[in-house]
């Protein structure tokens, strides 16, 4: 049986097609201004890649900021439930999940059945979310995907003291003007995000295995810095952006 999951995030919309055992196809597109339109694009792309027709999809689950506005005949689930289901399906031993997206971050602990035991979330502050990276990338004149590469070349430890994205922007501009190396600043940016993520995890009593998901998890330096910060191993899926959408697909199927 096939099911699909659509995660409409603040910046990107993810669509996955899954069967009982694995992900058959996925697609990631910018969320843009018109949710039903970007959802349709993502969904069609995923269907095409899976080589199936829409009518062969038995259930569709949606989630995310725009999850209630997809224009599809689907069932909506909260992103927390989708994170839990998606992480557990991919990693049966997952007991802690930390999700950092473009505009929100959340952390939770699960029991053996995948039920959420503890939960915390921050969606009121850009710092510690992808939006922080986007703003900093702009100032450093890097693509957001190149931040980790630059950070790896860092030789001198630099710290960004401001916890607010807006104030940190000025701090970074000063650092650059004072002659700081771009790579060192990129590293400081990654450390700042990891620090916020660690703070979120510290609100809970975490247990392994700890799974790091969401777009920001694609940054290996942040993942590494987070690992050091909490002193525990962290697992990053191959495609961390998709776990929530996978969870939506699984939620729709198992309901």
């Amino acid at each position: 049986m096939l099911s699909a999951g659509i995660d409409v995030g603040a910046e990107t919309t993810k669509a996955v097609v899954v069967d009982d055992r694995r992900v058959l196809a996925f697609s990631v597109v910018p969320s843009g201004w018109e949710t039903p339109s970007s959802v349709r694009t993502a969904f069609n792309q995923a269907l095409k890649e899976a080589g199936v027709e829409e009518k062969s999809i038995t259930y569709i689950g949606t989630t995310g900021m725009g999850g209630k506005n997809t224009g599809l005949e689907a069932q909506y689930f909260t992103d927390s439930i989708c994170n839990a289901k998606g992480a557990l399906w991919s990693f049966p031993k997952a007991r802690t999940v930390i999700d950092i997206g473009a505009e929100q971050s959340q952390a939770m602990t699960l029991d053996g059945e995948g039920r959420i035991v503890q939960y915390t979330r921050n969606d009121q502050c850009a710092a510690g979310a992808g939006a922080f990276l986007t703003e900093m990338a702009s100032i450093l004149e890097l693509n957001i995907g190149d931040i980790s590469r630059a950070a790896l070349l860092s030789r001198n430890k630099t710290t960004i003291n401001s916890t607010c994205t807006i104030f940190a922007e000025s701090e970074v501009i000063s650092l650059i003007n004072e002659g700081s190396d771009k790579n060192d600043v990129a590293r400081a940016v990654c450390d700042a995000v990891a620090l916020k993520a660690a703070g979120l995890l510290q609100e809970l009593k975490i247990e392994k295995e700890i799974i790091f998901i969401g777009g920001v998890a694609q940054n290996a330096v942040i993942a590494d810095s987070l690992k050091s910060g909490i002193g525990q191993e962290i697992i990053v899926p191959q495609e961390p952006r998709l776990i929530t959408a996978i969870g939506a697909a699984r939620a729709a199927l198992t309901k």
């Binding site: 009121q124 502050c125 850009a126 401001s162 607010c164 994205t165 807006i166």
Partner: protein
């Protein structure tokens, strides 16, 4: 016996700096400027600019108090005093009935209770988050290509209920504002929604202390009629704002300078 006591207060903030020269109990002159890269230089410039408007010289000033975020860079000050203390004292000068002071500066926001002498009895501060600070206004002004002074009036043009922004975070509010503009929503409505969101954050701060009348608002944002009216409406009280709300800290510093000078004199006379 000293007939006239001339003192000065210098307030070095994160964005702007002010100097006030006080003669006995009257403001002789003041200055207001942007903080430069060299804060020590800014402090000296602020005082010089205030002096230029008078016919006294630097030597006539008996005591100088430095305050503000950069108070330790007022190298020629006789003493440094915290901005909280100075703001309460300055507010008390203009409005002796002041019991709550809300100071909204370039990069921070403070709320305090004070007594009839202008002494602080409670205070809360936000210096970690840009929402509700002058910076949040600069961001939207730059985005819309308007001046800071335009924000208030434009945000008040709107009478009907405005859409609510999902967050007070300046980064999120800015992208939501942009989205609204691209969806064809008029600028004054977007500005109204933006001001609503930021005032929400300011109210969160001020509600952490007791709000007792009279309420005095100081700092650069006191000049933003959109923010002030929204705060007044939400709290149900009228705010008092002096003729130049940005000098309240420096004025308080100058008043404290006078008190310190008099106390020093009394000690030496014994």
């Amino acid at each position: 016996m000293i007939d006239e006591i001339i003192t000065a207060g210098i307030d070095i903030g994160s964005s702007s700096a002010q100097a006030v020269i006080l003669k006995n109990n009257s403001i002789l002159s003041f200055s207001n400027m942007n903080v430069g890269v060299d804060k020590k230089e800014t402090a000296a410039n602020a005082l010089n600019k205030a002096l230029e408007k008078t016919n006294i010289s630097r030597d006539d000033i008996k005591f100088i108090v430095g305050t503000g975020y950069g108070r330790y860079q007022v190298s020629f000050a006789n003493k440094n005093v915290t901005e909280i203390t100075c703001h309460a004292r300055g507010a008390n000068y203009f409005f002796p009935g002041a019991r709550t002071v809300l100071d909204m500066g370039g990069q921070d926001c403070k709320a305090m209770n004070c007594d009839e002498e202008g002494r602080v009895t409670a205070f809360v501060m936000n210096e970690k988050c840009a929402a509700g600070t002058g910076r949040s206004m600069e961001v939207i002004a730059r985005l819309f290509g308007i001046s800071l002074e335009d924000i208030g009036p434009m945000s008040l043009e709107v009478q009907e209920k405005t859409p609510q922004l999902g967050s007070s975070c300046v980064v999120f509010a800015k992208s939501e504002a942009l989205r609204m503009i691209r969806n064809g929503i008029p600028r004054n409505i977007v500005l109204a929604a933006y001001c609503d969101a930021l005032v929400h954050r300011i109210l969160q701060l001020i509600n952490r202390i007791e709000i007792k009348e009279e309420l005095v608002i100081s700092g650069g944002i006191a000049k933003n009629t959109g923010v002030v009216k929204r705060i007044e409406k939400s709290l149900g009280i009228q705010a008092h704002i002096c003729f130049e709300p940005q000098i309240v800290g420096a004025l308080g510093a100058a008043i404290i300078a006078k008190k310190m000078f008099q106390e020093n004199n009394e000690k030496s006379e014994k």
